[in-house]
């Protein structure tokens, strides 16, 4: 079959018209978007350039103190208790010094620091490796520095768990809505205002974005203020007048594995002033 120039041009013209017209018709049919609707932050929402937390370990005295912070977080966010350390889900958890700050320990350090539990949580790094490896962009860094996890998008590949140097991410190996061996629900009491997760997704601390949006501090911070003011301090690292900045500039703080370069946003005040007194050497 041969085609001459005139026929070819005619055919091309008709096809182009049909294409353009078809798109227009398709758009017309598709067009049910709304006008004049908009999304805004709430009037009481707390804003920052970079949210950060200071954990003052001197304020944590009894195991009860840790437990209250952990319970507050885990009950607010429907974190299941799989009662098996292998597939444990943790948003905030205690750990010994040598595990929290590997490489910083020495055989001669004081007994109290050595044995003390440190409260660990997601560091909301400025340069988060978990975000870099996520293949679906399920985990991402918000404008306010919070490393957030979109459960709708998580495919459970666990790259982020391998990438996170802090063990801050947990995988739902089982259905968190299920029951344990004794027939007890894995989530003791569901908080009806917050979703659960499903089997096969990774979860972690979110710095309580849902609470910040309505002007509340994170659940752990709120509870810690009940038993000792200043145990957990939350604020904007970018604001020189914020409480976290004041503490960080006044006291010696350390961060977990800062040598890796992820720039964690959680700072630890170790020991407070009690240990800083050096006996006079004569």
């Amino acid at each position: 079959m041969s085609i001459n120039r005139r026929e070819f041009l005619r055919l091309a013209g008709v096809s182009a018209l049909a294409g353009v017209g078809g798109v227009a018709v398709f758009n017309k049919l598709q067009n049910n978007a709304l006008e004049a609707s908009e999304f805004t932050a709430g009037p009481n929402a707390l804003n920052a350039k970079r949210w950060a937390m200071v954990v003052d370990m001197s304020k944590f005295k009894t195991p009860e103190d840790y437990k209250r912070c952990m319970d507050a977080c885990h009950s607010t966010h429907n974190v299941p208790n799989f009662s098996n350390p292998k597939d444990e889900i943790k948003w905030i958890w205690p750990e010994k010094f040598e595990h929290a700050f590997p490489g910083q320990e020495n055989p001669y350090m004081n007994e109290e620091t050595k044995e003390k539990s440190f409260l660990l949580l997601c560091n909301h790094c400025d340069n988060p490796p978990c975000v870099r490896v996520c293949p679906t962009k399920a985990t991402f860094k918000r404008k306010d520095g919070i490393v957030m996890q979109d459960m709708h998008r998580c495919i459970g590949c666990r790259f982020c768990m391998a990438a996170c140097p802090f063990g801050a991410r947990s995988f739902n190996y089982r259905n968190p809505r299920g029951k344990d061996a004794n027939g007890q629900p894995l989530i003791k009491e569901e908080n009806a205002a917050y979703p659960t997760r499903t089997i096969g997704v990774v979860e972690k601390c979110t710095f309580c974005t849902e609470r910040l949006a309505v002007g509340k501090l994170p659940a752990c911070v709120e509870v810690s203020n009940e038993f000792s003011k200043g145990g957990l301090v939350f604020g904007d690292l970018d604001d020189p007048g914020s409480e976290v900045r004041k503490i960080i500039s006044a006291k010696y703080t350390i961060r977990r594995k800062s040598e890796i370069g992820t720039q964690p946003s959680v700072f630890y005040v170790i020991g407070g002033n009690d240990y800083a007194i050096v006996p006079e050497i004569l």
Binding site: N32, T40, M148, D150, H152, A193, P195, T198, T209
Partner: protein, 134 residues
């Protein structure tokens, strides 16, 4: 054609079987799902305020798109307040806002979704309101 008799009979039987569901259902109309909008929460509202976020027609056709936009806005941008085209504000939350009024998931969400045989996975994570009927 060899064996034309067998082939044609076989074909006819095949066509009859494949089209069975169609001619079997001809003339029978499935009851349309009737959604219940009379939850106690809705009835408590004054008459003028018994309106959804957007118009009924839009919600019917576009609620999934709306919820998808809400999700992206809340999770990704942290913007949680929705100003509707009627200039009313809503907290963008399926679990806390939509279901506050539509507390009858079984007679509202499920009815239509079952009829249309769609299985959205909202409730794998989001907690549905407690209902008496099971």
């Amino acid at each position: 054609m060899y064996d034309s008799g067998k082939i044609i009979v076989g074909l006819l039987i095949f066509i009859a079987l494949v089209t069975f569901p169609f001619y079997n259902n001809i003339g029978k109309v499935n009851a349309k799902p009737e959604l219940k909008l009379d939850t106690p929460e809705i009835q408590k509202l004054p008459e003028q305020e018994r309106k959804c976020v957007e118009s009924k027609e839009f919600m019917r056709g576009g609620h999934m798109q709306l919820l998808d936009d809400w999700r992206d806005s809340v999770v990704r941008d942290g913007s949680r307040i929705y100003t509707s085209s009627a200039h009313k504000t809503f907290n963008m939350s399926l679990q806390n806002e939509c279901m506050r009024c539509h507390s009858n998931k079984k007679d509202f969400c499920d009815k239509c979704h079952n009829y249309m045989a769609v299985k959205p996975y909202c409730w794998d994570c989001h907690i549905a309101p407690k209902e008496n009927k099971s």
